[in-house]
């Protein structure tokens, strides 16, 4: 069996623990399973994805659960004006088996085992990828077709990118900053002006020969190519050369984090971007990095199999309580909410099977 532990921002029930109080210690998420409220699931948790105030939990069995703000249907459940929030994890569409989910601010994109795409929630900038006429929808199957199967799908605030198994990239949503690469301008009479939104999935052109890995932040996309170059599209566009092997790439809203491995097999996390609240990875090189996950402005690190630490902006309890409170600095609000060191969050006896991080929320799934 597995348990899902969580802490952090919870004003809209996005932790799925049955109340709307922020939590600075890990709590067990509650799951409504076959009419019974439980803290345990039989199938292994595969993915935890969060939007602004909603969370999806995907299990290996293909079962998908969600909790949090469902005002616009972003949890994939029917909109009910009397019950706008889903207080504990509730199963989405009992008949379907799901394989992937991605969440933006108030929208979600779901992929079933047959590679059909579904959208739900609110998107005023093309986030639903279903044309200018569809800005708000309950869970709806799209008519999208792609030339090959889906390899991965990632969404941030207001744009989504899909990588296919044939290596091509498709995207939609807000593109004003260049986060969807080169986009045809709008023709207004004889003049052109830059397009602000892409309303249908379109094949993306980043001007890179062989893009391999990608991640999305707030109005930004980061792409690593086959020559080890890291390209930023959007705010603070830049290209950097990485001289190490890249294992994975993830983005906060305003910074990027790359798990690298050198020739000796040593791993480290290379960060760049906004460091206003300790977001850049604070650890040194000799950590035993097993996994990491990245939220809106904080990160989680798994060392060995049972030790999770947090860093970055932790104002809502998402980095736990300071252990210890840093010495020698005045306890102003910035010091209280900044975790510019690795703060222990979970150090138990159970193996951690999955990490998740959302908008100031943290998730640790354990095998019990």
């Amino acid at each position: 069996m597995y348990e899902i532990l969580c802490c952090g921002s919870n004003g809209n029930f996005q932790l799925g623990i049955g109340n709307d109080e922020d939590q600075n210690e890990l709590q067990k998420a509650s799951i409504m399973h076959n009419g019974i409220l439980t803290n345990q699931v039989e199938s292994k948790p595969m993915s935890i994805r969060s939007g602004g105030n909603h969370t999806f939990l995907l299990l290996e069995s293909g079962e998908l659960y969600s909790a949090g703000d469902n005002t616009y249907g972003q949890c994939g459940h029917p909109v009910d004006k009397n019950e706008t929030h889903i207080p504990v994890f509730k199963k989405v569409n009992h008949d379907k088996k799901w394989k992937a989910v991605a969440c933006g601010w108030e929208f979600s994109i779901l992929v079933d085992k047959d590679d059909n795409f579904y959208v739900c929630g609110l998107g005023l900038k093309g986030e639903l990828g279903s044309g200018e006429g569809m800005r708000n929808s309950t869970l709806t199957k799209t008519t999208w077709t792609f030339p090959s199967a889906v390899e991965s799908i990632k969404a941030s605030l207001s744009h989504t990118i899909i990588k296919l198994e044939d290596g091509s990239f498709y995207g939609f949503g807000s593109c004003r900053r260049g986060q969807l690469g080169r986009v045809e301008p709008l023709f207004v009479g004889e003049r052109t002006r830059p397009r602000a939104s892409v309303w249908w999935p379109q094949k993306l052109d980043f001007g890179i020969d062989v893009p391999l890995q990608f991640s999305v932040g707030r109005d930004v996309t980061v792409v690593i190519d086959d020559k080890g170059r890291c390209h930023v599209f959007g705010k603070e566009a830049a290209t950097r050369s990485l001289d190490t092997e890249v294992l994975s790439l993830k983005s906060m809203w305003s910074s990027a984090h790359i798990l690298c491995q050198n020739a000796a097999g040593e791993k480290k996390i290379l960060s760049f971007g906004n460091n206003s609240h300790g977001q850049l990875f604070p650890g040194d090189a000799d950590l035993n990095i097993a996994n990491f996950e990245i939220g809106s402005e904080h990160g989680l690190l798994l060392e060995s199999k049972t030790k999770v630490s947090a860093w970055g902006w932790g104002e809502h309890g998402n980095c736990g309580k300071h252990k210890p409170m840093p010495e020698g600095v005045p306890a102003g609000i910035d010091q209280q909410v900044t975790f510019n060191y690795l703060n222990p969050l979970y150090n138990g006896t159970h193996s951690v099977v999955l990490l998740g991080a959302g908008c100031a929320t943290s998730w640790v799934a354990i095998s019990v």
């Binding site: 206003s276 609240h277 910035d334 908008c359 100031a360």
Partner: protein, 71 residues
């Protein structure tokens, strides 16, 4: 002096003519907000009602005219 979390252009905010507020998502889940009248008076810091984060709004005073036209 508290840290400014980020700088955001006015075009990225959503303007609601009823509340006369410019809003933009905050990484905590709530929204940064600033009123158009405060901006006319020279204020450029949008605050979040749920946390301590603040963003600086990038705008020129004449940018506000088109939003006043919506009220």
């Amino acid at each position: 002096m508290e840290t400014i979390y980020d700088e955001i252009e006015i075009e990225d905010f959503t303007f609601d003519p009823t509340t006369q507020l410019f809003q933009y998502p905050c990484p905590c889940g709530d929204k940064f907000a600033i009123s158009i009248d405060d901006m006319k008076d020279g204020e450029d810091i949008a605050v979040c009602p749920s946390c301590s984060l603040m963003v600086k709004v990038i705008f020129e005073p004449e940018d506000l005219d088109e939003y006043y036209d919506q009220i």
